[in-house]
Symmetry: C2
Subunit: 503 residues, 2 copies
């Protein structure tokens, strides 16, 4: 039995029929993955067969080895391939065949949205805004989690919970917010699956068809999508080095009378900039005068690496029209999905209704573990370490930007958070630079991905939060080399025309 | 310091100013809770003061002690009160005062939906469809969770994940589904926060304004709300003892041409009935002929206590237009929110997009723990025990219904699951019975709560899954007594008129 199994697994798939088209718009790794899938679906290659080693197939097809790995990774992700360390990649067990007269889902459903232009197999990725996992306080997490798991509340945690959240966590967070002057009399709190869900629930609650919602521009893509899916009319307000431009905001408010203004006051994603105290006060005053609901997306403020903390809009607003969003994701473990909303009681009551429709309630085990993490003081100790390391990263990224990027490049100077924004000098565009950078093993998200209104063709986001200072330096250096190469290529007028046509 | 603290905490709040109106529509416990909140907000009662013991206040106000506990529970839930076992209930710390010129949220926001008529302080609740927490395999959960927490993948689990779900779980579930003939070539899988979120994502994907969606009637409230919030036109199809009525379904299909049909084929919530094999085949045939998308909500089928398992619609449908929803919530720990969708790849790709907008991805720790639970065989062992205990519950509830409910009462005979449906004889209504039952310490959800179209005024759901056979027997006996009392009261014509006017 074992022997038969071994024999079966050792058969190498015959991929000799594969032909790829280098001139196609579809990347080669996708073409390759689709070809392999085709061979499986038409029965040429069978379940249990081993695919050739990446080096071998790269040689056969005359392709880069990274292209092969990317195709294999894509197939593995989709479940068609199973990877076994040291033994290779195998076609997964056979699925029951579907009828040939299948439903044409692609015709029935809306088209898929554009994917961010991330590449497989990059060496240094500035594309994802997340903490470094090698800095996770694993020992503390393990100890505290076991306390929760062995504790007397385990059965209660495993039972169906409340749409408002796990009561002990909810109480702790609300008391903490009351102590620090953030929660006022009449406020309540609901736990959400990170801030993303909080934004989604709020969009549902606050916005009806075509109602105007003012957002920062550039802005976090996930924030924009939440409000566009709620059918809001998006009104972009430009951000400069001190956050949202208040004079432009006043104009926007007079012209569009937005019902909601969504602001990330500290270390905004994607720019990293922080709203000055003066502007915070001005925004609260505008909102109060015009009856605008302020949604304050405050997920980065604990990641301040230098300078003095500023009050939240919620603290500055005694009239109770600010809704504050916070989260443990950016400051502890993003894989545990726990954020929360602090708002007047009528708002929270309605959010709880929508939360129940969306997914009943948030996972309780993670809520209980994060509560323990916060109550034990381990979260504060972790934050202290994170801030020290964050300052080193911040210095590394700004130093490298000054040193390696071409003359005329502008970039923001954040005091915290995970992101920094670069504006390239003409005729460079982020899309051109991205192609060149990915070929050199460096990835980032280009400006148009964060467009709230303006195209941001020369803009790009550098997420430095998950990388070491050495990786940051090396990555920005490569970006600088790619930019120099693109600039030199664009001095060739024919090439420059081509580049312009690409935009 | 300790002394001062003790003195402060020992002060008993003066609630002598409270006046309640027994004739009001607002229940007394809510009136009491709001009065206490008023005394805190106007400063009569201060943070740290202890409320009178429930027995004492009940005596003072001439109320039932349960009313007082319910009011305290409500205030505790909202954070205004802190309970300390053995010491009493205390007003929570003071919050910073809000401006008196506050935003009028209740005027700005849509009204809150009606709440289910659940009561506080009931002895036996048939209201919630959930497993009994004293049957949770806690020792196994603790052992396996620690394995995950101490394991080499802990850092990866804690890091930002994929909208598709935790890859090892996704692979495991898809391989399992392929092995059992449920997943076909071309299918993929996405993990969701239980089935509720799966329904929500699907409603988003499949339904646009006013598109017709056929649902069972009566139907699970949370399913209905998901599709109404997606602005679907709901087409109810009556359910009888063998599930959805296929002849009526054919008529509905010809008349309304629904785009989607949502079915819970096994142990449907709220009726507990199971679609016969013949009807399953007929439904698949209708869907294939008319190009209708089948959403198969299959969360209870593992809870079969007697009889032979039936194939899923997904297995019967080779054309790939069935979308299967499953979940670990009902069969293991509802507090860990892990469900999944198996569907053709184009559907799953789009669900992943919507999932990312909704909340990025599901909590990874629970996904990893439930994977371990399933892989270790502990889930199967737990299911065996659950099914044995479930059969006892099922026998207890049907025996008690036969024995204690008044003549003319009809009820379903489920072969599994957690719910049974009762139809009361005229002139009884579920609303009248509920008031009478709650006064006797028994709670349930009345029929109108599950209305997909018809009012179901005489219907009610009995969720027996979380109770012991003895509790079930006692609860149904009390229901029978309450029904008898209501029937005898309704022989008084004046009373009967009043009851009719209430409907």
């Amino acid at each position: 039995m074992l022997r038969a199994n071994l024999v079966r697994w050792s058969c190498v798939a015959n991929l000799s029929g594969i032909e790829l088209d280098p001139a196609s718009d579809t990347p080669l790794y996708k073409q390759l993955a689709e070809s392999i899938r085709g061979l499986v679906e038409n029965g040429t290659v069978e379940a249990g067969e081993r695919l050739p080693a990446t080096r071998e197939l790269a040689g056969q097809l005359g392709l880069n080895r990274t292209t092969i790995s990317s195709a294999y990774a894509m197939l593995e992700e989709s479940g068609l391939l199973e990877g076994h360390v040291g033994r290779g990649s195998f076609i997964a067990r056979k699925f029951q065949a579907a009828n040939t007269e299948k439903m044409d889902w692609d015709a029935l459903l809306p088209p898929l949205g554009p994917l961010p232009h991330t590449a497989h197999g990059v060496e240094i990725s500035f594309a994802s805004s997340r903490p470094p996992e090698d800095a996770f306080p694993l020992a503390q997490f393990r100890r505290l989690s076991k306390g929760v798991i062995d504790g007397p509340d385990a059965a209660e945690i495993l039972q169906l919970g409340s749409p408002h959240g796990y009561l002990p966590l909810r109480r702790f967070l609300l008391a903490q917010a009351a102590d620090s002057g953030i929660a006022r009399s009449g406020d309540d709190l609901i736990v959400t699956n990170g801030c993303q869900q909080a934004l989604d629930l709020l969009a549902w609650l606050l916005v009806s068809d075509k109602q105007a919602v003012a957002v920062e521009d550039p802005v976090y893509h996930g924030l924009l999508r939440v409000f566009t899916r709620a059918r809001a009319k998006i009104i972009p307000v430009p951000v400069d080095s001190a956050g949202i431009d208040v004079d432009l905001l006043r104009e926007v408010v007079e012209e569009h009378r937005p019902r909601v203004l969504v602001v990330t006051p500290s270390f905004q994603n994607p720019t990293g900039v922080t709203l000055s105290l003066e502007r915070r006060k001005a925004i609260v005053e505008i909102a109060q005068r015009r009856g605008i609901v302020l949604v304050e997306n405050d997920i980065y403020s604990d990641l301040r690496y230098r300078g003095k903390a500023l009050p939240t809009l919620k603290e500055l607003d005694a009239s109770g029209q600010t809704i504050l969003l916070r989260s443990y994701s950016k400051v502890s473990f993003p894989g545990l999905r726990v954020g929360w909303v602090i708002a007047p009681r009528p708002v929270v009551a309605r959010l709880a209704e929508i939360k129940q429709i969306s997914d009943l309630h948030s996972d309780q085990l993670s809520q209980a573990i994060l509560l323990r993490f916060a109550q034990s003081g381990e979260l504060d100790r972790h934050l202290d370490r994170t801030r020290r390391a964050g300052l080193e990263r911040l210095n590394a990224v700004t130093d490298a930007c000054e040193r390696f990027l071409p003359p005329g490049t502008k970039f923001t100077r954040p005091d915290g958070g995970m992101n920094l924004w670069i504006e390239l000098p003409a005729p460079l565009t982020a899309a051109r630079l991205l192609g060149s950078a990915q070929a050199r093993g460096v990835d980032f998200l280009p400006g148009p991905y964060f467009s709230g209104g303006r195209a941001h063709e020369r803009g790009l986001r550098i997420s430095f939060g998950g990388l070491s200072p050495a990786q940051i330096k090396r990555g920005i250096q490569i970006l600088g080399e790619a930019a120099a190469a693109e600039l030199s290529a664009s001095n060739n007028p024919a090439d420059f025309e081509m580049a312009a046509a690409l935009v």
